[in-house]
């Protein structure tokens, strides 16, 4: 709990640190703030408490997902090296502050006990994302992406709010507990107000937009491609983790008794997401755009765990988010370096070709990228394999055979586009020169890689807590 409060204060503090002449303190201070918040968060482990007039619930679900969010942010901060180089156009103090604020929003989304809190959390996180997307002021694509994201996002938030209002109309409560009681009794006596179903759908659609589930995914490729790569990394990991934690909570706590209703809807959307995400990813020329579609497809796998709704779903979503976040940060981290090797038509080269011959010039980067791709593809002995394993076994437990078959087929398709990068790095010739990578950057990427491998060998490091 303290960590939410402290993160907001740290955000403001960091903003004021921007007045200092030296910008070198900003990165270490942001890291220290995040570590403090992480420490405070871990202290809440095994606590059960409600805060702010029962608006926020602290329990192990909250702590575990929050730890992933903060850890992910730490890693993203670790690879944001170039800020401060260009005095006129970058504002590192604001950048780190916005990240700290957005984490606050993410934590509220994870811990909400009241739909109002969920809404506030979603808004804090989203507004921060809109700003971050547009930070590359001179780049038209970045501007376009920010505007697109903002317009579509604002619309989605409106739908979300409308859904909340409907649910309030039907149940007379904003609280998860109150809603759950209503849904249970109403389902029992077959007197569910149609308002509830409409509200539930609108609320879910709003949330699904944020985690880019098809058919609410159309903003994703453009925004991911336009945003500066470092924010793409941030956006695709933190928003997804927080969004799925919130979605799982809504589905399993508030609307538990209406399972038959929302499970069918979500199952169809999961199939759609898996198909669209994976098949479209195959046809991409740009690696960054491929990663956008791959992020859509991963939303599909995560949705599978929500639909399964068995006790192990929660730890499956948690593990999958962690594995996905680690691998995604590695991938975008390497992309940041590689894309600057040789510009393509005036802008950083984000095509597959940019990776050609990387294994010769920078074997370490190629190795990091390989592990990341193997993990995203779900090859054994990486964290990604166990993510898929736990999600598939949750789905097997609730007999979702059709969904499983599609998920397995789509995993194969996934291997196709992830391996294109590995092939480019190891098997394609190139005339590119090697690049020198700063130590902090290298260390962060190595950390994500080691964690991916470690979790691949010993998934119990995380799972023994559940």
């Amino acid at each position: 709990m303290l960590s939410i409060i402290s993160l907001s204060i740290f955000g403001i503090l960091n903003l004021f640190l921007g007045f200092l002449k030296s910008r070198k303190v900003l990165l270490p201070s942001a890291i220290i703030f995040l570590l403090v918040a992480l420490g405070l968060m871990v202290q809440d482990w095994n606590q059960q408490a409600l805060y702010f007039s029962d608006m926020l619930r602290v329990n192990n679900l909250f702590v575990s997902f929050s730890v992933i969010v903060i850890l992910t942010s730490l890693l993203v901060v670790g690879i944001s090296r170039n800020f401060g180089d260009d005095l006129e156009y970058t504002h590192p103090a604001e950048y780190y502050s916005i990240i700290l604020f957005s984490i606050t929003g993410a934590l509220m989304m994870i811990g909400f006990e009241n739909l109002i809190m969920l809404f506030i959390g979603v808004e804090i996180l989203s507004v921060a994302m809109y700003v971050l997307t547009g930070t590359d002021k001179r780049n038209l694509r970045s501007n376009e992406a920010a505007l697109k994201y903002f317009l579509m996002g604002a619309f989605a938030t409106g739908i979300l709010l409308f859904g909340i209002a409907m649910i309030y109309g039907a149940t007379g409560s904003f609280k998860l507990g109150g809603i759950a009681t209503y849904v249970q009794t109403a389902t029992q006596y077959r007197s569910v107000s149609p308002l509830l179903y409409i509200g539930l759908l609108l609320l879910f659609f709003g949330m699904l937009f944020k985690v880019s589930v098809a058919p609410f995914h159309f903003w994703t490729p453009d925004v991911y491609e336009g945003a500066p790569t470092i924010f793409t990394a941030y956006m695709s990991t933190v928003v997804k983790t927080a969004g799925f934690a919130a979605l799982y909570k809504l589905a399993s706590v508030a609307f538990n008794s209406a399972y038959g209703f929302w499970a069918q809807t979500l199952a169809v959307l999961a199939i759609l997401t898996l198909l669209i995400g994976n098949i479209t990813a195959v046809y991409q020329v740009s690696f960054k755009r491929m990663m956008a579609y791959s992020s859509i497809s991963h939303a599909g796998y995560l949705l599978l765990a929500v639909v399964a709704k068995v006790p192990s779903s929660q730890s499956a979503i948690l593990f999958y988010s962690l594995a996905y976040s680690l691998a995604t940060i590695s991938a975008f981290g390497v992309l940041i370096i590689v894309s600057e090797r040789k510009p393509f038509e005036g802008s950083p080269d984000e095509r597959y070709e940019a990776f050609n011959g990387l294994a010769k010039t920078n074997p370490l980067l190629a190795f990091i990228m390989t592990i990341s791709m193997l993990s995203l593809a779900g090859i054994p002995l990486t964290a990604g394999f166990w993510g898929k394993f736990f999600i598939f076994s949750a789905a097997v437990q609730s007999n979702l055979t059709a969904l499983l078959v599609i998920a397995v087929l789509m995993s194969c398709v996934g291997i196709y586009y992830y391996f294109r990068v590995i092939i480019a790095m190891y098997l394609k010739p190139s005339d590119n020169d090697g690049v020198i990578v700063s130590n902090g950057f290298k260390l962060t990427l190595l950390l994500t890689t080691v964690l991916t491998l470690l979790l691949g060998l010993f998934p119990d490091l995380v799972n023994r807590f559940f």
């Binding site: 598939f392 076994s393 499983l404 194969c412």
Partner: protein
């Protein structure tokens, strides 16, 4: 403990190799694989031919998924452990006349592959088996794609996707089985054997598991990756693929499919046998048409593995025993054949039968070895192929006489395409390509002598090998009934 050491020796030395440079790499790789072989021979010498799992070892590895690091050698795995440790030193020695670029990575990948292959054959836990099964794929993919021919990137990619596709369904099947185990779940294979599954469950599970192995072997119609991959891969990779990796599929059938879903096997066994027999005929007919020697042997391998699969599904002692001994024999023969083709190719730059001929005039020693390997392949009595094919055909005949008759044509077809290959390449008039042919050098003889020795040893004294496997196979069949 010995089993673990067998897995670890190649793995550790592979990592060491990555740090080495220059000529030492080859020698270290060879010495490693020889030490490994020596250890395997020692294990074999103290192995007792009964139904128990020996040299066993078990640690809890991943509690949340019930995975135990449980390994051991029993009658079904013993010959395959011998095969994977015997062939790798010969494969490494066979590369000594050829310099591959970036040798440390090349030999390290071969050793990693060996480690995973031994792992597959000794794993006693379903998920552990699955890890090794997949772990074997990554090194062979990189060997084949990086050191292969012009089209190797796309061809090996197809192979990779194909096999992953199959094994993902296998994984689903294993996860399902794992969730069926009582109490706090266990993924030990022995726990899977105890399950009481309904006929409907078994029927679905049969396909989930069978497809994974069928693609690996490959059984018709899942074979389309195979000929191209064999041809485009560098010869050491082809030897690993055909000699050892293919056996992961047949081994999986015996180890996993038969005991876990016996009713599924009853229900679908006939389909599997028919598919296998189609593979025999189809592979043989295509092999007869081939001009490219490597492609010819690739199709012959497809035909031979069809017979092994048919023998396994015949569910007879002869069929299973035959398939086990044939796995060993086929591995030896096919490695020998691919090696000789590589020798011919390195001297003439051609594998095309129409451009070859009269090699025997310059190199009688080579042609003697070639004929020995070919005779082993066509199952001439007193060679290793005869024992395997005889038992396999006997098994298939017991299962169904008509299918047995059709499958029996493999011997005729085999003789046709193999002897055609010998005749066109070794005999006849010399061509421009073969005029300057030189005979074998010492390295090459050192590879071929042990192979030829095993061809005759297994052919003359098969009981030494059959006795090792018989108790375990008999026990397996008893539990199926």
């Amino acid at each position: 403990m010995l089993t673990l050491i067998l897995i670890l020796i190649p793995l550790v030395l592979a990592i060491v190799l990555l740090g080495l440079r220059g000529g030492a790499v080859k020698r270290v790789a060879l010495i490693t694989s020889l030490v490994e072989f020596g250890l395997a021979i020692y294990v074999l010498s103290i192995y007792k031919a009964d139904t128990s799992s020996q040299f066993a070892l078990s640690y809890d590895w991943i509690k949340s998924a019930g995975v135990q690091f449980a390994i051991g050698i029993d009658g079904i795995s013993v010959l395959l452990v011998l095969l994977s440790t015997l062939l790798v030193p010969l494969i490494i020695l066979s590369t000594f006349n050829h310099s591959y670029r970036n040798p440390s990575a090349f030999y390290a990948l071969i050793l990693m592959m060996q480690s995973a292959l031994v792992g597959v054959f000794v794993a006693k836990d379903a998920f552990l088996f699955y890890f090794f099964f997949e772990a074997a794929l990554i090194p062979i993919y990189f060997i084949a794609a990086s050191w292969g021919g012009e089209n190797s990137i796309s061809v090996t990619f197809k192979f990779f996707l194909y096999t992953i596709f199959g094994s993902l369904f296998m994984l689903l099947g294993l996860v399902y089985l794992y969730l069926q185990t009582p109490g706090s779940h266990s993924s030990l294979l022995s726990a899977f054997y105890e399950l009481k599954l309904s006929a409907a469950q078994q029927s679905v599970l049969f396909w989930a598991l069978f497809i994974g192995f069928a693609i690996k072997m490959p059984v018709f119609p899942f074979h389309t990756w195979q000929p191209d991959t064999y041809v485009e891969s560098p010869t050491p990779a082809t030897m690993l693929l055909a000699g050892i990796m293919l056996k992961m599929g047949t081994y999986g059938l015996i180890r996993i499919v038969l005991p876990i879903v016996p009713e599924g096997v009853q229900e679908w066994g006939l389909v599997a046998v028919i598919l296998s027999v189609i593979g025999i005929i189809y592979g043989s007919i295509i092999a007869i048409q081939q001009q490219d020697m490597k492609r010819l042997v690739a199709y012959s391998s497809f035909a031979h593995v069809g017979l092994m699969a048919a023998g396994i599904f015949s569910l007879t002692l002869d069929g299973l025993q035959g398939s086990l001994i044939q796995m060993l024999a086929h591995g030896i023969n096919v490695v020998g054949l691919f090696f000789i083709i590589e020798i011919i190719f390195s001297r003439t730059q051609s594998r095309d039968l129409s451009q070859l001929g009269g090699i025997t005039q310059n190199s009688p020693v080579l042609s003697v070895f070639f004929i020995i390997m070919v005779l082993g392949s066509v199952a001439l009595p007193l060679t290793n192929g005869f024992i395997g094919e005889f038992l396999l055909l006997k098994g298939v005949f017991t299962y169904n006489t008509w299918i047995g008759i059709v499958a029996g044509t493999t011997i005729i077809f085999g003789a046709v395409y193999m002897l055609r290959m010998v005749q066109k390449s070794m005999f006849g008039l010399q061509t421009t390509a073969t005029e300057q042919f030189t005979d074998l050098n010492l390295n090459e003889i050192l590879v071929l002598v042990p192979l030829a020795f095993f061809v005759f040893w297994i052919g003359l004294f098969p009981n030494a090998f059959l006795q090792l496997t018989e108790p375990a196979v008999a026990e397996l069949l008893r539990t199926l009934k």
